[in-house]
């Protein structure tokens, strides 16, 4: 070959040139800047304007944040210290209010000697959700997940351990009723009998049995009233319950909405459209005021429980629509494929439809979660002292009257950590579940 080339081409290089460094304008900070910031006149202008804007903001923000007062007993003392140190009190944060009130912003009025209980509940939450969220977590941890709702209630509210245990026993009745009876009277019959038995147990037996057991074997924690709940703990509590319950309820509602059974479908559509047509704040007002008037006085239907139920219902309706979006995105062939394998309805949903539909819906689901978590701040309007409600209460203290940005900044930081964490997790989940080969 080279011979023929030798006749037709004047010059053939027979050795490779040594590799050279890329030109300095293409690599390193400079190259990156040229590629990303200064490509063309328009982008250059945008970059410069943005840099000026960011610099201006930081020039105001950084001194405010870091040239600040941490040790003072009141806002006026903060201002005196700032004036003494920097010559003026404006433009210097007074973090002393956070230093004094951070336990209150985190735990509300929860008794300080019992702070270990919400902290333990939060730590257990991480253990309980690990097997659901991460593939490397042992499946044996699922036992913790199953027990967690009862542990949570017991740790936070305290009281006798037998109440939560007896409520859990109701679920055991439900489970064993279905598994033991379904062989004899059919699946539907077993379900109905088990549900009725469990309801009877919850309504009539739990109270007396738990009371009797508490008398015989008193194991319990010091009870804490719902009124003492507050701060970030309240937001997390309402958020976790709403997030945890709304996904399963939402899936059931989404399936019900696609059902061929007229009544099931009508109920689901009615519920979803009603809840979505009403603002959350209205539901919270119903929970806080209207229910009070309907129920006989002296009925002790916990305000936090009422709020949690309402927020859960609200989140479920939105979740149902998100999941329905995922279901609608599945090609018909998936349903037909599941049918052709001989799966019954639940098998098809569990093994074929839901894994795909939920995967499609992940961004929507997580958005709903984040939205619900942030919506928990609305409870301050009905007088519950969530972090935002507490800012008002803290400002009402004459020592801190006039403190705004420090409190709001601290709360924003806490919310950002949680919401950003959720959003990063959803991106991780999407990467992990990606099955296409792009």
């Amino acid at each position: 070959m080279s011979d023929t080339h030798g006749e037709t081409v004047r010059f053939v290089r027979e050795t490779m040139l040594p590799e050279r460094e890329p030109p300095t304008s293409q690599v390193g900070l400079l190259g990156w800047g040229r590629d990303n910031l200064f490509t063309g006149p328009f982008n250059t202008i945008v970059t410069i304007v943005s840099l000026v804007l960011i610099g201006y903001l930081l020039a105001g923000l950084l001194p405010w944040m870091f040239q600040s007062v941490w040790r003072a007993d009141s806002l006026s003392e903060c201002r005196e210290i700032a004036t003494a140190t920097w010559g003026q009190s404006e433009g210097h944060a007074c973090w002393a209010v956070i230093r004094e009130r951070w336990p209150q912003l985190l735990f509300g009025f929860y008794p300080s000697e019992l702070y270990w209980r919400p902290i333990l509940a939060f730590a257990l939450l991480i253990v309980a959700v690990a097997p659901v969220l991460f593939p490397w977590a042992s499946n044996r941890l699922l036992a913790v997940s199953a027990a967690y709702p009862f542990l949570l209630a017991w740790l936070l509210w305290g009281g006798s351990i037998w109440g939560p245990v007896m409520v859990a026993a109701g679920f055991a009745i439900l489970y064993f009723g279905v598994t033991l009876l379904s062989g004899r009277i059919g699946a539907l019959g077993a379900l109905i009998v088990a549900v009725v038995a469990a309801l009877l147990w919850w309504l009539f037996a739990v109270g007396p049995v738990a009371g009797e057991l508490a008398r015989l074997i008193p194991i319990g924690l010091e009870p804490v009233e719902s009124r003492d709940f507050g701060g970030f703990m309240l937001s997390i509590l309402i958020g976790v319950v709403a997030i945890g319950c709304s996904l399963p309820i939402g899936i059931v509602l989404a399936l019900g909405r696609q059902s061929d059974l007229l009544i099931v479908k009508a109920l689901c559509v009615g519920f979803i459209e009603f809840i979505r047509g009403v603002p959350l704040i209205t539901l919270l007002f119903v929970a806080s005021t209207l229910l009070n008037i309907f129920m006989p006085p002296g009925t002790d239907f916990d305000i936090i429980l009422r709020v949690m139920i309402m927020v859960t219902l609200f989140a479920s309706a939105y979740m149902a629509e998100v999941v329905r979006g995922g279901l609608a995105a599945l090609p018909k062939g998936q349903y037909e494929g599941a049918d052709s394998l001989g799966f019954d309805y639940w098998q098809a949903q569990r093994l074929v439809i839901m894994p795909q539909a939920l995967k499609i819906s992940i961004p929507g689901i997580v958005s709903t979660f984040i939205g619900v978590f942030k919506d928990t701040t609305l409870v301050s309007i009905i007088g519950l002292l969530d972090p935002l409600g507490l800012t008002n209460a803290i400002r009402a203290d004459t020592a801190w009257n006039g403190v705004y940005w420090e409190l709001f900044g601290f709360i924003a930081l806490l919310f950002f950590i949680f919401c950003f964490g959720m959003s990063r997790y959803s991106m991780y989940l999407e990467r992990r579940l990606r099955t296409d080969n792009h």
């Binding site: 201002r79 009233e225 002296g298 007088g383 209460a393 009402a396 004459t398 020592a399 006039g402 705004y404």
Partner: protein, 339 residues
């Protein structure tokens, strides 16, 4: 069938409500605590400290009632209420009394079916302006932008005041007091209007309080006081006369410092003796212990002491007694006689 069951349940609930409402005193005694509705936070009037203990001028009324009824000023469950939830909380029975800087008006008394048992603070709506504006009277505010909280009586008062004086203004509607103060200090409005007590408290928090001035005009009457629901006059009387006992104590010179001495043996002032239970049977008549008023006064002191402690001139709130001085000093605070 189902309808009748529902109606039956409602009737039972209604009867139970009536029965419960008729014996608030028994309920409170059985429960061992007084459920008292307070504001979720208003400087000087009610606020929780770092340990979650509620303090303030309105809170002190709750504590006095708890001391009179239960003998323990700490036997109070404070229920934080917002402007939107306060009235339902009271009418539904969630709280036994409301002590939350609530203005006594015709419609609240009659339409909402509450009983205002008295006035513990005579407030009124005022204006705050920067001194640099050069205004010395609210009537000179022609054409000014005014920050105003929406949905409150202050909004209506403002419109009426400007209409009556035939001057124009531009309202800047704001949702909360905190937001309004931010807008005002940022210069988004020339003046801010709300209750004068709130203006004084807010001015104290500014970077330079001396650069702002509160105009002399008070354009509305805002008598603030504790209230109970209709239907239990005995309970209303207890709250009313506990408040009156605090007021009468100041007039007669009974303070938290000397109340023990005065109550240990009859003094030579028969009205003090009747008040403190060393003479007569006023306690028995109202359905409480003979020394009920003594316990109420011992809790946080008399009316004047409570005023000085939480909102008086020595506090950052810095309110002068003004209308809230005893009638003997030219104010409106006046208790009917203990006889």
């Amino acid at each position: 069938m189902r309808k009748s069951v529902f109606l039956g349940a409602l009737t039972v609930a209604g009867l139970a409500a009536g029965a419960a409402a008729a014996a608030t005193l028994d309920d409170v005694k059985a429960r061992g605590t007084l459920n008292c509705g307070v504001s979720t936070g208003l400087a000087g009037f009610s606020s929780p400290d770092a340990n979650g203990n509620w303090e303030g001028f309105d809170v002190a009324v709750c504590r006095a009632v708890a001391a009179a009824v239960l003998g323990d000023q700490s036997a109070v469950e404070f229920v934080p209420t917002t402007g939107k939830t306060r009235f339902t909380a009271l009418s539904s029975g969630e709280i036994d009394m409301l002590s939350r800087n609530t203005t006594w008006t015709f419609s609240r008394d009659n339409d909402l079916k509450f009983t205002f048992v008295g006035v513990n603070y005579y407030d009124g709506q005022g204006f705050i302006v920067p001194k640099a504006l050069g205004v010395t009277s609210a009537k000179e505010l022609d054409g000014a932008t005014v920050c105003i909280q929406t949905g409150t009586t202050t909004e209506l008062n403002l419109a009426e005041f400007f209409r009556v004086n035939n001057i124009s203004y531009e309202p800047v509607p704001i949702e909360t007091n905190a937001e309004a103060l931010q807008q005002y200090s940022a210069g988004a409005c020339d003046a801010y209007t709300t209750d004068a007590s709130g203006l004084a408290a807010s001015r104290a928090t500014f970077e330079n309080p001396s650069e702002h001035t509160i105009l002399p005009e008070i354009i509305s009457k805002e008598p603030l006081g504790p209230l109970v629901r209709h239907g239990d006059d005995e309970w209303g009387d207890i709250v009313r006369w506990t408040l009156n006992a605090l007021i009468a104590a100041e007039e007669m010179g009974v303070t938290s410092a000397n109340v023990e001495d005065m109550a240990s043996a009859p003094t030579n002032n028969p009205e003090i003796n009747r008040l403190l239970g060393t003479e007569g049977n006023l306690g028995e008549i109202i359905g409480l212990d003979a020394d009920w008023a003594k316990k109420a006064i011992a809790a946080n002191g008399n009316y004047g002491e409570i005023f000085e402690k939480y909102i008086g001139e020595k506090t950052p709130i810095g309110l002068a007694r003004g209308l809230n001085a005893q009638w003997t000093n030219g104010g409106l605070i006046y208790s009917p006689p203990f006889r």
